[in-house]
């Protein structure tokens, strides 16, 4: 496909996108964050990155559970690497050492201490940089794993809903007639069903997991893209280059895939960042209301609801709000820059 390769118009758009600084930098930072979240196990984890014990090397991050006895501790369950680190430090001169991730807690463990009740405030000493939540789980860890959940949730949702929306919308716009009429009425009826009630009903019957939640949101989420694609396809279909292709004898398939779709890409791309933001917001609000992913899945919505119930532990709610604001603002900047860069007024040449 000559979509992203050489077309100088596309290159112009990319250059223009790069020239919009705040969008471009947001894009870079956001991409880095998403990539880093893919390897979050190496940054935020209760397992050590590297353990050197009696001349042997261990890399526990992605491997199987290493029982405590193997590393010179007196128990059979999984090694607590923070304790191990403390022990190695006391022993000294044995050459044994542990390298822990920057945040040495995972998102599920309760770091409880004698004589104190969580939530614990942020502290460098305990390495809970953003404190813990009400049951002693590290806020930073939950925030980062929550980000990963939210972002992949939105990306999958985006991909599937665009796939459905683009196919149905393009078919509606291109074939028109009865098919179009039927789907218009279906969409009109469908979009009047109150989304939140359906979610509440469904989650009272079954506990949604990651994919069922995507499916439920998809049931309503395909409509927007379908509507846009229908309009755009209608517009493109009436243009003369489509008629020229038909006059040459091009099949419907060829007209749709080689002529109409490439000309609608800029519109689809413009919507992507806003859809990502919407996906994050949808998941967070559902989790906040308790209709989202089941506990103990780390999620922003769950942190937000905890934080707002424990306003005296301000570190919980403030970290989520800051994280959400930063991510959503970045996504919006990217979206704005894309919209600006793809603005057809800047690229259409009429002589």
């Amino acid at each position: 496909m000559a979509l992203f390769t050489l077309n100088p118009l596309t290159r112009k758009k990319v250059n223009r996108f790069k020239s919009i600084r705040r969008g471009y930098y947001s894009f870079i930072i956001f991409t880095v964050l998403v990539l880093l979240s893919c390897v979050a196990e190496m940054l935020v984890n209760s397992r050590a990155l590297v353990v050197h014990y009696n001349g042997e090397w261990f890399f526990p991050t992605y491997g199987a559970v290493i029982p405590g006895k193997k590393l010179g501790l007196d128990y059979d369950y999984e090694t607590n690497y923070r304790d191990l680190e403390a022990k190695f430090e006391q022993e000294k001169d044995t050459g044994n050492f542990v390298i822990l991730p920057p945040i040495p807690y995972n998102a599920f463990e309760n770091d409880l201490r004698d004589g104190e009740y969580p939530p614990f405030p942020p502290s460098l000493e305990t390495r809970h940089y953003l404190g813990t939540d009400t049951i002693g789980r590290d806020v930073a860890a939950r925030l980062i794993y929550g980000f990963r959940t939210a972002i992949f949730f939105s990306l999958i949702l985006l991909f599937v809903s665009y796939l459905i929306g683009v196919s149905i919308g393009a078919a509606m716009g291109y074939f028109g007639g009865l098919f179009d009429l039927l789907f218009q009425r279906i969409i009109e009826i469908w979009s009047n069903i109150p989304f939140l009630y359906v979610i509440m009903i469904v989650s009272s019957i079954m506990i949604p997991n990651f994919f069922t939640l995507i499916a439920i949101i998809l049931v309503f989420g395909w409509i927007q893209m379908t509507w846009y694609m229908r309009t755009v396809t209608y517009k493109e279909k009436a243009r003369e280059y489509v008629m020229a292709a038909k006059a040459l004898g091009a099949s419907n398939k060829r007209v749709i895939f080689n002529h109409i779709l490439p000309n609608t890409v800029s519109i689809i791309v413009t919507f992507i960042p806003f859809s990502i933001a919407n996906g994050i917001i949808a998941l967070t609000s559902l989790d906040y209301l308790g209709f989202g992913l089941p506990p103990p899945t780390p999620s922003w919505g769950e942190l937000l609801s905890q934080g707002s119930n424990n306003l005296e532990s301000l570190w919980i709610v403030s970290s989520v709000i800051v994280a959400m604001t930063v991510v959503l603002v970045m996504v919006t900047f990217i979206g704005e820059a894309i919209r600006e860069a793809f603005d057809p007024k800047k690229h259409t040449t009429y002589e």
Partner: protein, 331 residues
């Protein structure tokens, strides 16, 4: 060639339904083309002229089956093409092609010139990739474009160059008939003649027939062997090019030809422009379509539809009840 006529159109009708309301029922009909008949010999040019909205472009598109005609018969190469489907329809496109009006719109902005010109061969599965590329270069050369245009995109060219590319695309399959849908009306006057001469040269070289649709009478005169004048979905007069200009019979044609500007300030014509507007094709007059604007209108014009009829044996046909008489009265 048993039949000298390449294309015979008989009573072609193209009506578009207008839908509305909750149930999307048909609430009206646009009579865009309402009974058009003409014939076009091999290798000749028929000019189809008329003002905007008279249905001349619709005729072209219906002939190419971009629209499905409501009624009538179209014989192309002695074959009725109004009912063709699927594979047969695709074969038809080998014999008949179209040049579009707006060269800025008719080339896909996302394809290179090479892609655009190669597409006809891909669609009709002709030749290997290497042969196709060679043919593309040959086409570019034929329309006077440099070979390095292959890798460029439409927006990098001027209107005239783009129209050359459009022409190259239409001759790619070596059709017998090309429907030229106002091919020069979007271009500067200085470029119009270049494109027209290119079309005439190509016709001489390749021997195809043109159905040349235009609203510009001087352009039509330059290229056509025969001219058909359309008014509100019907042909009102057909004649040989010279004859039409020298001896117009229908009051509409007379008014059109009288309106051609003469580049001579001393020769002031005593010319009355047509009054009124073209009636809506949603609701045309019942009999003669020209009644509302005709200076010679009589009672019969409201009652009876005038048929195309020959006055003499020279192929000059007019659809007017008083054809032949009007000229006398005018002088």
């Amino acid at each position: 060639m048993s039949d000298p006529m390449l294309l015979k159109v008989d009573d072609l009708k193209m009506h578009f339904p207008v839908h509305g309301g909750i149930f999307y029922r048909q609430i009206a009909t646009v009579f865009a083309v309402d009974g058009v008949s003409f014939a076009l010999p091999h290798g000749k040019t028929l000019g189809l002229v008329g003002e905007s909205g008279c249905g001349k472009s619709t005729v072209g598109r219906a002939l190419l089956r971009l629209y499905d005609p409501t009624d009538g018969q179209v014989l192309f190469d002695e074959r009725d093409i109004t009912e063709l489907k699927g594979e047969q329809l695709r074969e038809l496109r080998l014999g008949m092609q179209m040049i579009f009006q707006d060269p800025f719109e008719s080339l896909n902005p996302r394809h290179t010139i090479g892609d655009i010109l190669e597409e006809p061969f891909i669609i009709h599965q002709m030749g290997s990739p290497a042969e196709r590329r060679a043919k593309v270069l040959e086409l570019l050369d034929k329309v006077g474009m440099p070979a390095d245009a292959v890798h460029k995109y439409p927006h990098e060219f001027s209107g005239g160059q783009r129209q050359r590319i459009g022409i190259a695309r239409s001759i790619a399959l070596k059709p017998k008939l090309i429907i030229c849908d106002e091919p020069v009306s979007a271009l500067d006057v200085s470029i119009q003649s270049q494109i027209l001469n290119l079309l005439l040269d190509l016709q001489q070289e390749m021997g195809m027939a043109y159905l040349f649709i235009a609203h510009d009478l001087s352009v039509i005169k330059h290229v056509s062997d025969q001219i058909a004048v359309m008014y509100l979905g019907r042909v009102v007069e057909i004649a040989d090019s010279e004859d039409m200009y020298a001896n117009p019979q229908h009051p509409y044609t007379q008014a059109l030809i009288a309106s051609i500007p003469v580049p001579d300030p001393r020769q002031r014509k005593d010319f009355k422009p047509l009054q009124g507007e073209v009636p809506s094709p949603l609701n045309p007059p019942p009999a003669c379509h020209f009644v509302d604007r005709c200076a010679y209108v009589q009672e019969i014009c409201h009652r009876e539809k005038p048929m195309l009829r020959s006055l003499e044996d020279d192929g000059h046909q007019v659809a007017c009840h008083f054809a032949g008489e009007l000229r006398a009265s005018q002088r």
